[in-house]
């Protein structure tokens, strides 16, 4: 599973990074999986944080709830970044 969080501007991207909002620990807490399974990447050139973790169920297998893995990012939208400005 890979999720790309792309910020509209570098300002919000850096605030997110400084406040550690999308850390492996925070992401792990949201999804209820071990933090060691989560890898995050910061890509400043496109104000993006990429989050990757192994699928719980192989794609298309009997228990797969989302064949394209396209809707699993939704709970991340509840996270808040403090915008000091």
């Amino acid at each position: 599973m890979t999720i790309d969080v792309m910020f509209e501007n570098t300002d919000m991207f850096y605030k997110c990074v400084e406040q550690n909002i999308l850390s492996a620990q925070n992401v792990a807490k949201i999804y209820g999986i071990e933090p060691e399974k989560i890898v995050t990447f910061e890509i400043p050139i496109i104000s993006t944080i990429k989050i990757s973790f192994p699928r719980l169920v192989t794609q298309g297998d009997l228990g797969d709830s989302d064949n394209h893995g396209g809707q699993q990012y939704a709970p991340l939208l509840d996270l808040e970044i403090i915008d000091g400005s």
Binding site: V39, T48, K50, Q59, L62, D66, N67, Q71, A74, P75
Partner: protein, 463 residues
């Protein structure tokens, strides 16, 4: 010294998804050296690899393919199609070849056709496994048991088979399962473009207009490759590429945004630079490519799981919704008991799944919201077993249990489940799953991806 320059058109991101004819025509006026199109993906799931079917209907595939074939013929440039028929196995390649020959016949076309197979022989794979040439990418990977159980196994080819076909002057290539990028990287590499440039450009090309800032519909993409850099622009005048959109697309669908692993090596885009040439065209440079000392190919297999029956329905009673976990627990127990009643001492084995929309159907175990407040729940009940008849029988038993499952709050007989259909169940037929991903060493890729040529004259296959 001549300057290396290769111009490529990508038809779209997947053959059959459509593109604007005006975009293709606009691209042809730019004098391309080849046209490519990815015809497959694992995105739609294991059904296509297992069954031999294709995800996009023939009528849609034929529409796209006919336009691409006519365009390629008009300028006598190669048309390169990879991952034929969604899954890129033997029946998928055969089916796309048939469609291509239909088009050729209807239009009186003549050309040299190359067919590249990607389906692997099971005894060959068993031998490779014994010699330690197949390694798991995740989980336990392929073992002897899964090789035998698989309906079919395909390898994902890199550029070598395409280069072989092009060197033998193929006008059209229909290949089985490929790295999406190999489809587009082969010809540029053959012409002397730096592999880093070829692979990175291919990464952008393979999804068609998806690298545009806003992709209003699937459409064509154009790339111009020089020795050490490339430029891309969408062929629809409504769309634009920006440094942001191209850089963002470079990390699409990959777990790691900086290192993209291909059959032939690793593309590193950590230091890549993206510059706007004008308001809609982007120049990319400074990518690097590290070739593998031993090439390998990802192996994808599909295992048949059984036949499935499905019931779609819903619940609206808040009293039932408020105790839905108890309700589903009771349903499972009662179904098990009914199966024993009906089948006696040796009941068939089956898997029974309940997906609850409005609760956690979309995220399953990942769902963080534990207290939901939906006024309505949608339920999908699934039974999978070794035969359609058994699955139909068991789901019918489940239907009746669900319909009248009592809860303490109501006395008498309730109807606590809203069935969507009559008959209440749908026969899903055969269901499959993918095998764990594995890597196969391919010292000489052509041993694993054989290429056959035939001459098409006036729409007829001569040999």
């Amino acid at each position: 010294m001549s300057t290396v320059r290769v111009k490529a058109i990508a038809g779209n991101g997947v053959l059959g998804s459509g593109f604007r004819e005006s975009s293709l025509l606009r691209g042809m006026r730019l004098d391309p050296d080849f046209i490519g199109c990815d015809a497959g993906s694992t995105d739609p799931g294991p059904f296509y690899l297992g069954s031999g079917e294709r995800a996009f209907p023939k009528i849609a595939v034929k529409r796209d393919l006919a336009l691409l074939m006519k365009a390629a013929q008009s300028k006598n440039i190669p048309l390169i199609i990879g991952s034929a028929g969604t899954a890129g196995g033997h029946p998928h390649v055969e089916r796309l070849k048939e469609t291509a020959l239909e088009i050729a016949s209807e239009n009186g076309m003549s050309f040299k056709l190359a067919i590249i197979d990607a389906e692997q022989d099971k005894s060959k794979l068993t031998d490779l496994l014994n010699r330690g040439k197949i390694t798991p990418m995740e989980g336990s990977g392929l073992d002897h048991d899964t090789i035998q159980k698989s309906e079919r196994i395909v390898g994902m080819m890199g550029v070598d088979p395409y280069v072989f076909a092009l060197r033998h002057h193929a006008n059209m290539i229909i290949a089985g399962r490929s790295s999406d990028c190999a489809i587009y990287a082969a010809l540029p590499i053959m012409q002397g473009v730096d592999p880093a440039v070829a692979w990175h450009a291919a990464k952008i090309l393979e999804c068609g207009a998806a690298a545009a800032e806003t992709r209003s519909s699937p459409d064509c993409l154009f790339a111009e490759l020089e020795k050490t850099a490339f430029e891309v622009e969408p062929l629809s005048e409504e769309m634009i590429c920006t440094p942001q959109s191209v850089a963002a697309h470079s990390l699409y669908e990959n777990a790691n945004p900086f290192e993209l692993i291909e059959p032939d090596g690793v593309l590193n885009i950590a230091g890549s630079q993206y510059h706007a040439v004008n308001s809609r065209r982007v120049r990319v440079s400074n990518s690097s490519f590290e070739p593998k000392t031993i090439k390998n190919a990802k192996l994808e297999g599909a295992i048949f799981l059984g036949y499935q029956s499905v019931i779609i329905g819903g619940i609206r009673d808040p009293l039932i919704i408020g105790q839905i976990d108890n309700w589903t627990e009771k349903l499972r127990k009662r179904l098990k008991s009914r199966v024993h009643d009906v089948y006696g001492n040796a009941p068939p084995s089956y898997r029974f799944n309940i997906s609850i929309y409005g609760k956690d159907a979309v995220m399953g175990d990942l769902e963080p919201i534990k207290n939901f407040t939906s006024h309505e729940l949608g339920l999908v009940l699934e039974v999978t077993s070794e035969s359609q008849e058994i699955s139909n029988n068991i789901i019918s038993l489940a239907r009746h249990q669900a319909l009248h499952l009592p809860i303490p709050e109501w006395s008498g007989l309730i109807t606590g489940f809203a069935c969507r259909h009559s008959p209440s169940f749908l026969e899903r037929g055969k269901v499959y799953k993918f095998t764990d991903n594995s890597l196969m060493e391919t010292e000489n890729p052509l041993d694993f991806f054989p290429c056959h040529f035939s001459n098409i004259e006036d729409g007829k296959e001569i040999n």
